[in-house]
Amino acid sequence: MKLMRFKWLYFLLSALVLVPGIYSLVRFGLKLSVDFTGGSILELKFKQSAISNQQLTIKQLIEEKKFEVVSVQSSDEGQILIKFKPITKEDVSTIKTALADKFEEMPQEVRFETVGPILGKELIRKTIVAIILAAGFIMAYVAWQFKDFMFGACAILAMFHDTFVMLGVFSLLGHFMGVEVDTLFVTAMLTILSFSVHDTVVVYDRIRESQKRFPKANFVDLVDKAVTETLPRSINNSMTIIFMLVALWLLGGSSIKWFSFALLIGTISGTYSSTFTAAPLLVVWNGFQKRKST
């Protein structure tokens, strides 16, 4: 199949996702969860010890009052520990009253604290440094194994393509649907980074192999051949991952819903980019090089 003939179409398709995503990222940023921003902790004590087991009811009750609850945990007999997005002293009395109505007992306030973030700025900064460093090493390794800098550079470009697809989509989701990025999103992002390169290298390996077997063939034809040959494998492999993720996304508990969705977006983008971004990039790069040398 002459898949590379439509390379600009593939770039256009990427752009259709990337441009709005990046625009939203610059304009609105990401909606950060309490993991990044910090929040409040409220601990309440009831005389009826059984109340601490009714975490779900308590959570729903407080959410009805329009407060964003992160978690409700039992902390002692009759005692509950509630974690919130930042709330004020007045909010606490509203919540206590609401709970008092339901359980017919005014809870005693054990403590109310404002807490800092779990994910500090330093962790994020250092993780970004690590990603850039990893990208550099991967680029060097791929360039060395494939004996051409072009392969290394294009593999990394495809990796950043997937990164920005994920960031962009979640920025849009955050702006329009209030979806937040949290610790899990960071994990999902790191998973996709390695998946993306992994998938790209498989496609590149075919090009390398054909280059050895047909040293005189036209580069575009080689890429076409490699992409056609690896496409079933790429799709099959991603299918197994996508099955898993769709199941977790649709059927799993709410706490991993967006995590699964982030991974799903990343997997689809990663599969697409290895065939329809990383390979055409090689063709374009190769074309530039040729024009320069003639």
Partner: protein
């Protein structure tokens, strides 16, 4: 043939070992055969035996995270009174960072550590999954661990003035690394120190000046040991000999490695907390995971037939070994961690799919099956190798084994990297060695 069988038996042994470790702590087998009714309760026996003086004891328990099982909630109060208003936030944040490092060196992963404010008081909240060794954890977290070196006062009137020792400029900040080792003569645990370049120079100067005199090592303002300097020490290494037991030496070494707390803290509250996730949410996710797993297995079996079933078998072995490793290391299992593990199952079949697609091509070009199989494995190897090395590069940099300070030395990113490394190496083993052996033996 002999080698092939050997590999097969090796795989079987590893798998059985994994199954043994994977067994739940307690389980019951019930049933009836004809009119016999049997019921037996098994207990995971763990390992407990002695070799010479060493006792090896390990119970295989999966460590569940705060979201699944809850854990211990500790609140520390920081004393910031002596600091100026504008320095307080920074000091609290620095203390938080050090505590996080200590907890992670200690081996408890997936902790939650955050700063908190109530009115005027500044606090640090530490949540640890599980409730093992909590007192030890409190000790570990709570100590400031200010390391100082003091030299003898050369003033002959020192004993009168009471100032026998004078502080030097060498402190814990000049430390590069510390670790537990054992005294050659007594066999007692000691903490050995390695200074940074700067620290080594300072230490050399101090020991040169004080040959024949005492140099005291102070921890949090108390002398721990005061060895006599026999000769100048130029290579920047020292040993603290206190009367430590192994645990104390370990604790001190972790505290020194993580750095001193910039402010003293004291524990004000300690309690057990329940899981953050409801039972329902966990059950739903586990169900979803099982459905996903079954889909993957069915897909492989339908698409690749008998080969697919053998790959599924390799996949199940992958799952069993991974779970066993999670119990052995131990890796703290959280719900997202579980989802991540399921995801690696999807990724672990990748090598098999690569190999099978290659085999199909070779068969299409007219090669007999046995040749096609060997060629398939051979040809797919280059891409499997390069792809997995790239993953390992990312994982190692995120794991930061050399503790470079410009990368993360703690926290969740490191935990993620560890599971990624495990998953990649294991999937190479099951995807290539296990499935190849199975196919050679069973696929004819």
């Amino acid at each position: 043939m002999g080698k092939r069988n050997l590999t097969f038996w090796f795989i079987m042994t590893v798998t059985l070992l994994a199954v043994y470790i994977d067994l739940p702590e307690k389980f019951k087998i019930e049933g009836s055969l004809g009119k016999f009714y049997f019921e037996k309760e098994f207990r995971q026996p763990g390992i407990d035996f002695k070799i010479g003086n060493f006792r090896i004891k390990k119970d295989f328990k999966i460590v569940q995270g705060l979201d699944l099982q809850g854990g211990t909630h500790l609140v520390f109060e920081a004393e910031l009174k002596n600091l100026s208003e504008q320095d307080r936030d920074q000091a609290l944040e620095a203390a938080r960072g050090n505590i996080e490092r200590r907890v992670n060196f200690f081996g408890i992963s997936e902790p939650v550590i955050q700063t908190a404010k109530v009115g005027d008081s500044s606090r640090i909240i530490v949540e640890l999954p599980g409730v093992k060794d909590i007192n030890q954890a409190i000790d570990l977290i709570g100590q400031t661990a200010q390391l100082e070196f003091w030299e003898e006062n050369p003033d002959p009137k020192a004993t009168e003035s009471g100032q026998i020792f004078l502080k030097t400029d060498l402190t814990g900040k000049d430390l590069k690394r510390s670790q537990v080792s054992f005294d050659n003569q007594t066999g007692q645990p000691v903490v050995s120190l390695e200074f940074s370049e700067d620290g080594a120079k300072k230490f050399a100067a101090i020991t040169t000046k004080n040959v024949g005199r005492l140099v005291a090592i102070y921890l949090d303002g108390m002398p721990v040991s005061a060895p006599k300097v026999e000769e100048p020490i130029l290579e920047g290494k020292a040993v603290i000999k206190g009367n430590f037991d192994l645990n104390q030496a370990k604790k001190l070494s972790i505290q020194l490695n993580a750095g001193a707390l910039p402010v003293p803290i004291k524990i004000i509250e300690q309690k057990n907390i329940g899981a953050t996730l409801g039972q329902e949410s966990v059950q739903k996710s586990i169900q979803a995971g099982i459905i996903g797993l079954v889909l993957v297995i069915l897909f492989m079996a339908f698409y690749y037939g008998k080969l697919g079933i053998l790959a599924d078998l390799a996949l199940i072995i992958y799952g069993l070994i991974t779970l066993a490793l999670y119990k052995l290391i131990p890796v703290t299992l959280t719900l997202p961690g579980l989802a991540g593990f399921l995801l690696t199952v999807g990724m672990a079949v990748d090598s098999n799919i690569l190999i099978f697609e290659r085999m199909k091509e070779e068969i299409r070009s007219g090669k007999p099956l046995s040749v096609a199989m060997e060629l398939g494995f051979g040809r797919a190897w280059d891409s499997i190798r390069d792809a997995n090395i790239c993953t390992l590069i990312t994982a190692f940099i995120l794991f930061n084994p050399l503790n470079w300070s410009f990368l993360n030395v703690s926290g969740m990113v490191r935990g993620f990297a560890l599971t990624l490394i495990l998953g990649t190496i294991l999937s190479l083993f099951t995807g290539i060695i296990v499935s190849r052996t199975l196919i050679r033996i069973f696929y004819k």
